[in-house]
Amino acid sequence: MAESLSARNIVKHYGGVVALSDGNLDVNAREVVALIGANGSGKSTMSKVINGVVVLDGGQLLLDGKPMQFSSPQAAKKMGIATVFQELSLIPQMTVAENIWLTREPLNAFGSVDRKTVQARTEELLSLFKGTFKTDLRPDAPVASLPPDEKQIIEILKAISFDPWMIILDEATASLDSRQVERLFELVRQWKGQGKAIVFVSHRMEEIFRIADKFSVLRNGRTVGAGMMKDINEKQLVKLMIEKESVFSYIRGESKADKKQATEVCIEVKDLSTDLLRDISFKAHKGELVGIGGLRGQGQRDLLLSLFGDIHYSGVVKLFDNEVKFKHPRDAMKLGLALVPGDRAKEGLLYIRSILENLMLPSWKQYGTPLKLGKAKQDATQAGASLNLKMAGLGEPVSSLSGGNAQKVVIGKWLMRKPQVLLLDDPTKGVDVGTKAEFYALLTKLCDEGKTILFYSSDDEELVGLCDRVLVIHDGIIRAELSGNTLTREGLIAASLGVSEGYHPDARTGGAE
């Protein structure tokens, strides 16, 4: 097994765009290095350079001090470098076992894949995450049928299945719930003990401080700082990432007034049930920011989709005291609802089309026939400016934007319709801290303008910091409604785990490090 890997002065261009101009990274065995940076700072490119997916344009990779060149993922793999990709590298049509062992299938004497061995070894790997799956996860289950968190876990298992000396976890925790993250961190500590090196890429500060030994910060393609975690605090780290500290002004703690309860009821839900949800009832007032929390996949997405008319439900939904039953999202849109979907790549954006087209997609009707393009451009420019959208021009494809900016386009396209009710499905997933802060300010502003926002997030911290109230969904029912004094991280986690009577110490296994 190798002992160390260093990247020196790495340069990488994509066409005219410089992704990395001076990337540096040192990783040693028995170490967890956090690779940190805002979206678009070059983190993903850095991990792709190390694992051979992209060929570098300059700089050097040193393995145990010797210059190395990885021209393909195969070459990096041979060197014992495994990657857990953010965009999943699983084949949906194939089974869990087939995916994990792809290219390394144990063969029998005839060259056939040895099914029994595959089955046994897969079971062994799955047992590492035993107890964190919602359903009994079988090795022969097709990957397409799994929820996102389980797909991510399969991705992790696939990476460790060939016993690499170095593991790159690229946003691997983004779609995991807290139990699964705990389990992953236990494993990371084990791997460290076994002499492996781990590169941990994440946006979640709290996780970085819990698991990493060292950090390396990228900003605009340059490594701007590196050192030991114990010598730095959260504020200093964020400062390194975004230069100007002022952006990191969380709205946390502000405007949690009860006065909003006094305004008229905007949305009222009574006994809403779907395949996943049972008898959901709540009210949201005008100008209120209502959080929806809980572990992933407990029905939060279903709730937003049924309110938007995208899935079938039973029960009563009232909008400003009028009962509504949307058959199609366009009915919901007509009455001023907007949904920012959770998977921006799949449901939110047309990546190869221009920013202008993406922003205008829900609103073209307002621009007549033939389209008043001049006015559309003007409005889009305005929307872009108000969202602080960093782009080369409205005509550029969305694929040219970083994750945070792409998410701004998703939100922007709905804001252009001036909605009354915003349904947000985990909008800050995979978004950098700077953009998050801007985003929080935007939500607060929208509420002040009298919009009602239902905000599902997998980030407990932002629910607690931002929302007036949080409905915690567990196993399809509202397990708790937290507000004011009861709205704390402990309370939220406890309710997420199905412990309804306040905060239970057992619910925080291994949380204190």
Partner: protein, 322 residues
Amino acid sequence: MRRSRWDALMSRYPSLFALILFVISIVINLILQPNMFAKDTLNSNMRVFLPIILLSVGQAIVILGGGIDISVGGIVSIVNTVLATRVGLDGSPERMWQFIFVSLFAGLLAGAINGFFIAYLRLQPIITTYATSFLYAGFALYILPNPGGGIPASIAALYRDTTPLGLPLAFYIIAIILLIWLYVSSTRFGKYLFAVGGKPDAAYETAVPVTLIQFSTYVVSGFMAALSGIAITMLSGSGNADIGASMTLNSITGVVIGGNSMSGGIGGVAGPVMGAITLNIIQNIISFAHIDTWWETLVKATIIVVALAAPGVINLIRRRRS
């Protein structure tokens, strides 16, 4: 992510639909032609079916890998014209064997040309093979401008009348193909094929040799097309540069009826084999029912549309019901 029973069943057994159609068509055929399973009838049917079956198997491999090959008919024509002109009606068996060898090589080469353009130059499969289909058909026409030539009747009879243990030769060939597939699908190549057809980017990141796999599917298809050409030449005993033209659509129909996903990554070879047989039986039914032959294309096209639309229609009905 909710999945209904039907979805689960269909994803586990993609050829279920093929099996149902297969059984229905056999039953109808049996009603119209009670002696369908008599030794001679069976043999005379199966030897006509075999060329399309072989072609569908090759097509299935390409489609599983995420591509499509519409040049197979042209390859069949090349093989047919080569055999008919070089062996001749009074050729020796040795010469026949020699040119069978040449034909197989020609098939591999034609497939390799397709594969090179598609896998290595990254051209669109449908456009590329559409273009090469004219190249191959044109080459066949150059070899044999007017129908004619042929192979010795004695050699044709070898294909037409060989019935070991009273069963048609085609059964043995199908059995061998299925056994080979059973083996291949259990090897790494098989897993790679599904991976490349399912999600090529992910397969690449996992270090699957994507380009090589894509290339090889066209080579396999070319080889199967050559086998198909040899079979149809031995069946007809004569040469005609136009012989393969109508077979391309049939091979694709066989794969579609066989339940393979047109976008790749789902299915197998048994389904397309059944699909090809079903397609031929339907043609028989049409002729037995004294329906004008010009209906045939219409019926075939309808079957493709129905087979392609079936999953969507089932989904629609389910959505309406809920």
